[in-house]
């Protein structure tokens, strides 16, 4: 918890006008990103991806393959960056950690009874401690949406604060709001404020496990919460939209939004991430298109 900062009354979080948010969101999508700014953007996107596999059927082999891909996105294209991190279940952290050793790629682990969060706090704490013991660099926790809807904002706050304490200096904490279950944009804003003031290093939209995932209006609402916190305290908070971002064009519109709301300072994977599994390959296709002038068959790009 950030001790010197006064905790606001979350029942009075700033209001959000949905019509206005959608109007603003549509403006980012009319920005035309061409030539060298497009190539720069595509490379940035790759470098901001948390390459993710969160399946019951995940195996050590699968995780190893993904970790290799994280470091070798497309060796035919020289000079490409690595992705930012790989994101796995706690049971796969040790495997992933070994597989990305020395590459600079971080290992993020979901925890706190991901994706529903419907477990006692002791279980969530154990889940987190295990992931940390296995060497996780980042923890992606879920908030208790049920408690949020009951108006138990302090409960939600305390859970986040305690997990943050467990993370200590070892891991950066991403707090997943699961905005598809949270409800209106007013709620997204309030949940963002709770997460930020409770100690989140990143706020993240979704688990990717329900139908409704990241969208530009939802992300915009969360970026405004980050901006307000920065204006008040001077502390930067990161943002991670996750789920549903599978095309380069859409990803670039997210970058446009981050640039125009928060500024260039947020345009690195320290402060912005994409939670995505299929985005990387579309970006690779687009980069090859920029380089060669023609679209390649998807068969030239590996599918891990």
């Amino acid at each position: 918890m950030k001790n010197s900062i006064q905790i606001p009354d979350f029942s009075r979080s700033p209001k959000v006008d949905q019509v206005g948010i959608i109007e603003r969101a549509s403006r980012f999508q009319t920005r035309s990103i061409k030539n060298e700014s497009k190539i720069q953007a595509l490379e940035m996107v790759l470098n901001m991806i948390d390459l993710t596999t969160l399946e019951g059927k995940d195996t050590i082999e699968k995780v190893n393959q993904m970790c290799y891909k994280a470091q070798h996105l497309h060796d035919d294209y020289p000079g490409l960056p690595t992705v930012a991190a790989v994101c796995v279940y706690p049971a796969m952290v040790a495997t992933a950690k070994a597989a990305v050793k020395g590459s600079g790629v971080k290992v993020a682990s979901v925890s706190t009874a991901f994706p529903s969060g419907q477990s006692p706090f002791s279980t969530k704490a154990d889940d987190t401690k295990f992931a940390l013991d296995q060497g996780a660099d980042e923890i992606d926790m879920v908030i208790s949406r049920g408690k949020y809807h009951q108006g138990e904002y302090n409960f939600v706050f305390d859970e986040i604060a305690k997990i943050k304490e467990l993370c200590g200096n070892q891991a950066r904490l991403k707090v997943i709001l699961e905005t598809g279950e949270i409800g209106t944009l007013d709620d997204v804003r309030r949940a963002s404020d709770i997460a930020i003031y409770a100690g989140a290093d990143f706020i993240k939209t979704s688990t990717g496990k329900i139908g409704s995932a990241a969208s530009i209006p939802v992300t915009l609402t969360m970026l405004y919460a980050i901006k307000d916190y920065y204006l008040k305290t001077g502390t930067m908070i990161g943002m991670k939209p996750a789920g549903g971002i599978s095309t380069s064009k859409l990803a670039i519109h997210y970058l446009v939004m981050v640039k125009e709301i928060l500024g260039n300072a947020w345009l690195s994977n320290k402060w912005f991430r994409f939670g995505a599994s299929s985005l990387a390959n579309d970006v690779l296709l687009q980069l090859e298109k920029q380089r060669t002038g023609v679209y390649q068959s998807k068969d030239y790009i590996s599918i891990d």
């Binding site: 700033p14 209001k15 959000v16 006008d17 019509v19 206005g20 948010i21 109007e23 603003r24 009319t30 920005r31 035309s32 990103i33 061409k34 030539n35 060298e36 700014s37 497009k38 720069q40 953007a41 940035m44 470098n47 470091q71 070798h72 996105l73 060796d75 020289p78 000079g79 490409l80 960056p81 690595t82 930012a84 590459s103 600079g104 790629v105 971080k106 405004y224 901006k227 204006l231 970058l255 640039k259 125009e260 260039n264 300072a265 345009l267 690195s268 994977n269 320290k270």
Partner: protein, 488 residues
């Protein structure tokens, strides 16, 4: 070979130029008047230049009209009215309007490019707002043409005759559509004069009208400066004047037509108050304020040029506003990423600069974007003045440029009093999360249009017009029809 940039490099990411191509447009070197379905040389034999304000270079020459040209146009309009248009079944009139609307859509890209070249407005605005809205107006009024009896039940609406229409330079094609569409739908014929700095899309519209097969003389367009406008206003053959422009000229028109039975609608200047309460959704309010004053470089009669912000949120709101202004891209109107384009003309540029100098001299606090500015052409940075007094000329006079005057307030009554304390009354904006506050303000603000939690929204179905010195009569919607009809 992977390189790892994690947590190291800060990106300096800028947008590369993304210019809209102008290679597909067809512009003539010289444009004549459009009279009786044909392009006619001006009787003066003279032409004047139409300038691209973003480069200060000539794009085309336009005919300089005089009283003879106006007389010819009015006579053609009268003949078309008597012989063809007023006698035509309304459902047939509608077909022509639908056809014009569809043709505008088909040629939307060319119209958008010419509008931006000639007027300086960003291509994003002409492409997404001006041209689609112009088509929408024709579609909307086409639908009414054969339903006038239902629009005004038991009142027997009849057409008026020949309408003289004078339009401004801020939305050239859109204003032409606002004027022509309802006039024709109601069975009138028109003589239109575009503003002298922005005649080109009107002349392209004339070509399109010719192509649509509209009977000769139903729409006539005479180009030129204010003298041509004066000729139209004072011509005996005109039955109705529709004018959009400055309040000074509006007053002159009223003087001229006094003692005649000419009908008139005037849509004049404004100095709109945009009022932000502490409970408003602030980030969206910032967007609305920016859109309210920097849309079309502030060349908007309903621009929200006075910002009233509640004292308790003043600091944070101004900070957010300044941050947002910093992200506006000022420059080449033809670039798809440009937010604020060129000032329409040199003389308007000088007027706006004069007000900025005045503000500095008055000791007001000025904030201007630190954006890069183009070297040529007429551009002005988005500008914000704080600590403005109600009695300052910056808060009283219409600047018609990207200059916002900020004042603070404490109570609802105070802000209503201040907002209404202006000779104008065209539009206003209210920003609050509380419904009851919205209703209280919308009923007490003396302005023709009051937007709540949004700004600068236009739609053909919605009437538009002012109180007091912002004019009278309404354009758009049913109200816009009644301005072109007489009733028994």
């Amino acid at each position: 070979m992977s390189k790892n940039k994690i947590e190291t490099e800060k990106m300096n990411w800028e947008y590369a130029a993304a210019p809209e191509s102008a290679s597909h447009i067809q512009l003539k070197e010289k444009y004549d008047h459009f009279i009786n379905g044909k392009f006619e040389k001006p009787s003066s034999g003279k032409y004047f230049d139409s300038i691209n304000p973003a480069t200060a270079k000539k794009i085309a020459a336009v005919a300089e009209g005089n009283s003879k040209d106006v007389d010819k146009a009015v006579k053609a309009a009268r003949k078309a009215y008597d012989n063809v248009w007023s006698a035509m079944p309304a459902s047939e009139r509608a077909k022509y309007l639908f056809r014009i609307a569809r043709l505008i859509q088909e040629k939307a890209r060319e119209f958008a490019v010419i509008e931006s070249l000639d007027g300086g407005k960003p291509i994003r605005e002409s492409r997404d707002i001006d041209i689609p809205l112009a088509a929408a107006h024709f579609f909307y009024y086409a639908g009414w043409a054969d339903k006038l009896d239902y629009a005004f039940p038991n009142r027997k609406p009849k057409s008026i005759g020949v309408a003289g229409q004078i339009i401004p330079w801020n939305f050239p094609l859109l204003m032409a559509a606002w004027k022509i569409a309802p006039a024709l739908a109601c069975g009138n014929t028109v003589v239109l004069k575009p503003a002298e700095t922005t005649s080109l899309t009107a002349m392209k519209l004339a070509e399109l009208i010719q192509e649509s097969g509209l009977p000769d003389g139903v729409v006539n367009i005479v180009t030129g400066d204010g003298k041509v406008g004066a000729e139209i206003v004072s011509h005996d053959g005109i039955d109705k004047i529709a004018f959009t422009g400055s309040t000074d000229v509006g007053k002159l028109i009223q003087k001229t037509i006094a003692k005649t039975d000419k009908k008139v609608t005037l849509e004049l200047g404004g100095k709109a108050a945009n009022i932000v309460f502490e409970d408003a959704p602030l980030d969206q309010a910032v967007e609305g304020i920016v859109n309210g004053i920097y849309f079309n470089q502030g060349h908007v009669c309903c621009a929200g040029s006075r910002l009233f912000v509640q004292e308790s949120i003043k600091d944070i709101f101004i900070k957010k506003l300044q941050d947002r202004i910093e992200t506006l891209i000022v420059g080449d109107p033809m670039d798809k990423n440009t937010d604020v384009g060129a000032i329409n003309s040199k003389s308007q540029w000088e007027t706006i600069q004069g007000y900025i100098e005045l503000g500095k001299k008055e000791g007001l606090e000025i904030f201007q974007s630190s954006c890069k500015m183009p070297k040529d052409g007429y551009f002005i940075k988005p500008t914000l003045f704080t600590k403005v007094a109600q009695s300052s000329r910056l808060a009283k006079e219409e600047i018609f440029g990207p200059v916002l005057a900020v004042q603070t307030f404490r109570t609802v009554d105070e802000v209503i009093e201040k907002a209404n304390n202006t000779p104008y009354g065209l539009s206003a904006g209210v920003w609050t999360d509380k419904g009851s506050k919205i209703f209280n303000l919308t009923s007490r603000l003396r302005a023709g249009i009051v937007w709540a939690n949004t700004y600068n929204q236009f739609d053909p179905t919605s009437p538009f017009g002012g109180y007091k010195e912002s004019g009278f009569g309404r354009e758009g919607g049913l109200h816009g029809l009644s301005a072109y009809l007489k009733f028994d």
